[in-house]
Symmetry: C2
Subunit: 325 residues, 2 copies
DNA sequence: TCGCATTATAAGGATTGCTTTGGGTTTCAC
DNA sequence: GTGAAACCCAAAGCAATCCTTATAATGCGA
């Protein structure tokens, strides 16, 4: 079996015209070159060099190998270069899948930073709800999945709806507080009110729910508060939720992240207790954390999440009180 | 440094979809595949495979390497195949240089046999006198040189005219007897004469000499017999020598091999003593005897020489008595 | 939940590769 | 012709690599 090493040595010998010069060119000793040539000759079964006096030339077989070696070694260096570009973040591809409200705030900042720092790295994005996102990750369709999970009643933090993330790398990005949404002028939105609102105070309202996980968590939340919500609408289109609430058709509980890109007209935002939150995480496969492009993207996602958390903690976002988590 | 071995393993993994299957395909054990992949990943600095559950896929870097591997491995197998063809005598090139009288009888038989037995082997031929032929061999212009040498007075058998063949492989092909050439009707060509003629009997004749080496040897031969030949013509064109002798312009001493392709009209051939001979040899470089095409050509040259010797020993050639060497 | 399949890890053994050392040969210069 | 330099080979020692076997851990399907 011809090894690439043999061809490198052969090329050096052909170029330099002697074993010693080839050894200097390759940065090794002359016996090493001699042995490599001998190994190559044993591998192919015919002599490749012919020595006459002090001069060293290639045999016909050696010339044939040398001719092929040019393309083979060029292909090898091209392959090395291409992969080295990925290792050096001069190239690479990162495919993201994110839940819809994550794409509007968290992802854009992170992607923009990655693209600015490493223009050769291409980041693509599709949207999917957490269960499907994890499936895409496991299927190899994406490298990073942005998902979220609500704290389960038992306290264990698995993925949503029975999805087990124990085979994934789970990187916690931020705790996304939930807020209540009521029509402007609603009694609970009175000016003098301070402190979080208890969900039980909305027990008699009509409800507008979001995506399936959110709806499921809403039910859990309300039942913990002692009632079952009367859900009349369900849509994962957050501007639509805001519109429905503003129209007085019901109340809603939405994560803050979902509201960042929505114009809040005709609604009042009610702070809820600290137990009303969801955890936003980035998921990836264990092997992929060693891929530089994936690693740097995860890092930028963390930074973007920290930025959002910091904004909230200083009250700059939506004028809400500190979460105090 | 990426080795070809890594790419073979990577390709097997990509094709089979698992390490174990790749190991079976490659004829080795699964840990070997695992280690090779790890070595490859360490060489390029990026993961090349990503394992999710039971399935194994390639990363972007792995795909890039796999893409390059196709061409690289194809080039390697093409190189192996081309050299294997030379090793298997399905291809190859042998360049011969021969002295003129060797080309007319010895070489054609041998070349024809080589071509018949191994149609893929190309044998080419140029003509040159021994000193130049050896120089061409050392310069790498030919693989085999056909030359001859006369026994030196001291008994050492070096190359002609001070040329040292100790760095070459000298393969003795045949002992080429020398014969005297006199005009038809010359007294020494009388019918009753038996046994070899002594050169001294031609001391008073005018001489026609051949190539420089032959001329030099002729002088040695005559001086050993006690006289200095009066050389009036010198040409390495053997038909011309015969013509000059037939015209009565002198006598000559020529090797038998040189006469095989010459029509002997108007001349008489005189047998000389056994000391009047030259050795026809095939020369090559030590490294080249391991080249199959060169080796088989040398073998056929030996066989052709044996055939010529056998013809002479049975008296089938020129009607001369046995050499009894 | 059990059983089969796959992978990772560790250790042993063998092979390979590289270097150093020494010797023979060729070539060039004085 | 002789000395010096360059080149190559051969052998020995050492280190690294590779492959194997054996074992443990994990994942998947019945």
């Amino acid at each position: 079996m011809i090894e690439a090493r043999y061809l490198r040595v052969l090329r050096a010998v052909a170029q330099s015209g002697s074993f010693s010069a080839a050894a200097r060119e390759l940065g090794c000793t002359q016996p090493a070159v001699s042995q490599q040539i001998k190994a190559l000759e044993q591998a192919v079964g015919v002599p490749v060099v012919v020595r006459s006096g002090r001069t060293t030339r290639l045999t016909e077989a050696g010339e044939a190998l040398h001719r092929h070696a040019a393309g083979i070694l060029a292909g090898l260096t091209a392959a090395e270069e291409e992969v080295a570009a990925m290792a050096g973040l001069r190239a690479g591809r990162v495919r993201l899948v994110a839940f819809p409200s994550g794409s509007s705030s968290l992802v854009p900042h992170a992607v923009a930073e990655v693209r600015a720092a490493h223009p050769g790295v291409r980041v693509s994005l599709v949207e999917a709800e957490p269960p499907e996102a994890a499936a895409m990750l496991r299927a190899g369709d994406v490298e990073i999945a942005l998902a979220f999970r609500y704290p389960s009643p038992s306290g264990a933090r698995l993925g949503p709806a029975g999805d087990d993330w124990s085979d994934l790398v789970v990187r916690s990005l931020l705790d996304d507080r939930l807020v209540g949404l009521v029509p402007a002028g609603h009694p609970l939105a009175a000016a003098g009110r301070v402190g979080p609102v208890n969900v039980a105070e909305l027990a008699d309202e009509h409800w507008i729910a979001g995506c399936p996980q959110c709806r499921s968590h809403l039910v859990d939340l309300c039942e913990s508060a002692g009632f079952t919500p009367l859900i009349e609408f369900a849509t994962d289109d957050y501007p639509a939720v805001v519109g429905l609430v503003a129209a007085g058709l019901g109340v809603a509980v939405l994560p803050l992240l979902a509201l960042e890109a929505v114009r809040l007209a005709g609604v009042a935002v009610l702070p809820l207790g600290p137990e009303a939150c969801r955890e936003v995480v980035a998921l990836t496969l264990p092997d992929l954390v060693n891929v530089p492009a994936v690693d740097v993207t995860l890092g930028r996602l963390s930074r973007a999440a920290l930025r959002i958390s910091a904004l909230r903690d200083t009250g700059a976002s939506l004028g809400l009180p500190h979460t105090g988590a």
